[in-house]
């Protein structure tokens, strides 16, 4: 098993290489090239100034070099073994060095800082949603399968395809418009992750001199309700259907017949024998749930103005901010591949028939 994990981790590198190369050269061949919109931003300036700014950018970020060289330089940047770069931009000595993600052309800040600010937020959003998705899906699926044909089951089946078809953008807009709006019901905050006063709030709720203060924790939680709902409803519906189908399929199998013949009560047949086998189907799809949700969180972050990595990615692509785009791609790809590996490991642990020796 250990050897298998190592092997998978090593195989990640060529795939990541391919992903980053694909994205890089797509950016490079776009009109304006890398950093294009940045360079052209200076529309109102006189010709000379524009030239100056252009030259500055090109020198600083090496934008006038051949594309392949730029890509190679980026690879060099992120690898722990490579050429160190001197302050004037030339290559220094070869050896171990700290990997770096570079500097954002648009914001003139280290990309690492940008990522450190935004990645936790996106992860927070997604990692909170996943338990909801799975919890809801599993529970609803079990109830539906247990009382199949009943009203709960019929209602769930009908609404499941419908909820899966609701576009996230529409759900987000409607939720904001109806539940977070002065005009209708202002139950939830409209945007962001915190109220402006949140910085001053204590972490947990308690009474203060000015009255009840809900605390930073609950403030954040309250802000997260609508985005999490938006992110989860589609996947929950999908998982419900999957779980129900898996349970029903297993209920028809031979080993269930054996269990019944042994005298096992129907309840135990479901929760002991069938449940574990049905979960296997859900684990298989788990690897695609996380990347799908990260994609979905791009939309949710935009609608709800949450400063996460998705929003960072969208903004940086619009400016073709090379380092940021590459960093976001790298991390996004990494998450996708890691979740695939994690899924395979969990599956091997859950199903005794599977082994990677």
């Amino acid at each position: 098993m250990f050897a298998y994990i190592i092997r998978r981790l090593l195989l990640m590198f060529p795939t990541l290489l391919g992903i980053t190369a694909l994205v890089f050269f797509t950016m490079a061949f776009s009109p304006g090239g890398i950093g294009g919109p940045l360079l052209d931003r200076s529309g109102n300036m006189r010709g000379g100034q524009q030239q100056y700014i252009r030259a500055y950018y090109e020198k600083r970020y090496g934008l006038n070099q051949p594309k392949l060289v730029q890509y190679a330089r980026w690879l060099n940047l992120i690898s722990p073994i490579g050429f160190r770069s001197n302050d004037d931009g030339t290559l220094g000595s070869f050896g171990l060095k700290w990997p770096s993600l570079g500097e954002s052309m648009q914001q003139h800040r280290p990309v690492m800082d940008l990522i450190a600010e935004s990645l936790p937020i996106t992860l927070l959003l997604n990692l909170i949603s996943i338990p909801f998705v799975y919890g809801f899906g599993v529970v609803t699926g079990i109830i539906s399968a247990r009382h199949r044909g009943g009203w709960y089951d019929t209602a769930t089946s009908l609404s499941q395809l419908a909820s899966w078809s609701v576009p996230t953008i529409w759900a987000g807009v409607m939720l904001i418009g109806l539940l977070a709006n002065r005009q209708y019901i202002k139950l939830f905050p409209t945007s962001g992750l915190h109220e402006p006063e949140a910085v001053f709030m204590p972490f947990l709720p308690h009474f203060m001199a000015r009255g009840w203060n809900c605390g930073w924790l609950f403030d954040t939680a309250w802000h997260l309700v609508l985005p999490v709902v938006c992110l989860s409803y589609g996947s929950s519906a999908f998982l419900t259907k999957l779980m129900r189908g898996s349970i029903l399929e297993n209920l028809d199998s031979d080993y269930v017949r054996t269990a019944r013949a042994k005298g096992v009560a129907e309840r135990d047949v479901l929760y002991r024998h069938v449940f574990r086998n049905s979960l296997l189907a859900l684990i298989t799809v788990a690897a695609s749930i996380l990347p799908a949700m990260i994609g979905g969180s791009v939309v949710v972050e935009s609608i709800f103005s949450i400063p996460g990595m998705g929003k960072l990615g969208v903004d940086s692509v619009q400016f073709r901010d090379r380092e940021v785009v590459m960093a976001v791609t790298l991390i996004g790809g990494l998450i996708g591949l890691l979740s695939q590996i994690l899924r395979d490991i969990i599956y091997a642990m859950a199903d005794p028939r599977v082994s990677y020796e």
Partner: protein
């Protein structure tokens, strides 16, 4: 050991299996389910059909140009005069298709070929001969009418074009639905209903054509991988992995950022990013078909690769792809709406996605009609395709088929 009896048409295991397959749902539930499936799919098909009609006839349904106008004693039809080449092409395709479908005489294939010829001719010729005037001022008709310069005038049912910004009226931005503007107006002071009708063209074409492109790419790559196993397969798998692991939206953003978002480019881009599922599927089908006897026989007889692929293997593997394609169309429509909503997709033409973007204004004002109608349209269309996909899947699933 000898077996009793001669023929055993129904194995005892099969008897129990048939019963247990249908016993997994109650009798009533089974009926309800199959009826609902069919009803759902039929409703979905009706909705899509309605959209197709709206798309084809949109300039005749919603147009600021009057259908017929008598001015200074002359009758004219500004509507017809301003039909673009695309409009005329669509009309030609539609009517020729309808006529050819219903006449019984020549064989199906001949009629199909005829239709394709007509389409190609239309697409090739009309853009050159049909050139409507490019500068249009819609408010002239209304002003003239008010001034009494026009004797008789007949408008289309919805007398607004999507790009008519109502310059003759004050402050018509973002007005709520009224008797005149049935779905209200947008932030550009254009009639929302008119925009939505024209946007059906975008939704439908993106759906079909991107999925078509994705299917072609996927089938080719997957087919090659499944047929020529070996290093082609290994290479292909790496390619599939890359496209699979990459955050799709990011890839799309990058691709879209290359070119100015134009309808045709969008179709190509969405097609180029969603082929992975089909490739995987076809590869799996081909890998299993390779072992089958009829393929081996064909190879032994010396048939060329292409022939084996297209005439023997492909027809078998394609049927389940139809189910996948239906869901793929739904997904393509969702993707386009999302990108347009984010401001990255289509910006020039009105699509349901970028209409939805106008729903929440600055300062948090919520314009409910702009949120409701475009969103509802996207939802119904996606839902319709999903329903059709589900119904197809149930129809093709061997497990659910009744014995005899």
């Amino acid at each position: 050991m000898t077996e009793i009896g001669t023929i055993t048409p129904l194995g005892h295991g099969e008897l129990l299996a048939t019963e247990s397959a249908s016993s997994s749902r109650s009798y009533f539930r089974q009926i309800v389910d199959s009826v609902l499936r069919r009803v759902g799919a039929i409703l979905g098909a009706i909705w899509i059909g309605t959209l197709v009609l709206l798309a084809v006839f949109s300039p005749l349904i919603a147009n600021s140009h009057p259908c017929l106008m008598e001015k200074d004693g002359h009758w004219s039809s500004p509507m017809l005069a301003h039909l673009s080449a695309g409009d005329v092409i669509l009309q030609t395709l539609f009517w020729s298709g309808a006529v050819l479908y219903f006449i019984p005489k020549p064989r199906r294939q001949t009629r199909l070929i005829l239709w394709i010829c007509v389409s190609v001719l239309a697409i090739g010729i009309f853009p050159f001969i049909i050139n409507p005037p490019t500068i249009v001022e819609y408010q002239i008709y209304r002003e003239d009418q008010q001034a009494g310069k026009i004797e008789k005038v007949f408008y289309a049912p919805i007398p607004f074009s999507p790009d008519d910004h109502l310059f003759d009226q004050m402050e018509m931005r973002l007005t709520a639905p009224s008797r005149i503007h049935w779905m209200g107006t947008t932030s550009d002071s254009a009639d929302l209903l008119s925009n939505m009708i024209y946007a059906t063209r975008i939704a439908l074409s993106i759906g079909f054509i991107s999925t078509g492109i994705a299917l072609i790419i996927g089938v080719i790559i997957g087919g090659l991988m499944g047929y020529y196993v070996g290093w082609i397969d290994l290479l292909g798998m790496r390619l599939v992995e890359i496209f699979d692991a990459i955050p799709t939206l990011l890839l799309l953003l990058c691709f879209v950022a290359i070119f100015t978002p134009n309808l045709y480019i969008m179709m190509a881009i969405i097609g180029a990013t969603s082929w992975v599922g089909y490739a995987y599927f076809i590869r799996a089908e081909f890998l299993s078909l390779r072992q089958r006897d009829f393929v081996q026989a064909a190879r032994a007889a010396g048939l060329p690769v292409r022939s084996i692929l297209f005439r023997h293997m492909l027809p078998n593997g394609l049927t389940p792809l139809i189910v996948s394609a239906s869901f793929g169309v739904a997904s393509a429509i969702l993707v386009e709406s999302t990108l347009s909503f984010l401001g990255i997709g289509l910006v020039n033409e009105a699509s349901w996605g970028n209409l939805l973007n106008q729903a929440v204004g600055e300062g948090g004002t919520f314009y409910w009609w702009i949120a409701l109608y475009p969103g509802l349209a996207i939802f119904l269309t996606v839902f319709a395709y999903n329903l059709i996909g589900e119904a197809l899947r149930d129809a093709l699933d061997p497990k659910l088929q009744e014995n005899k």
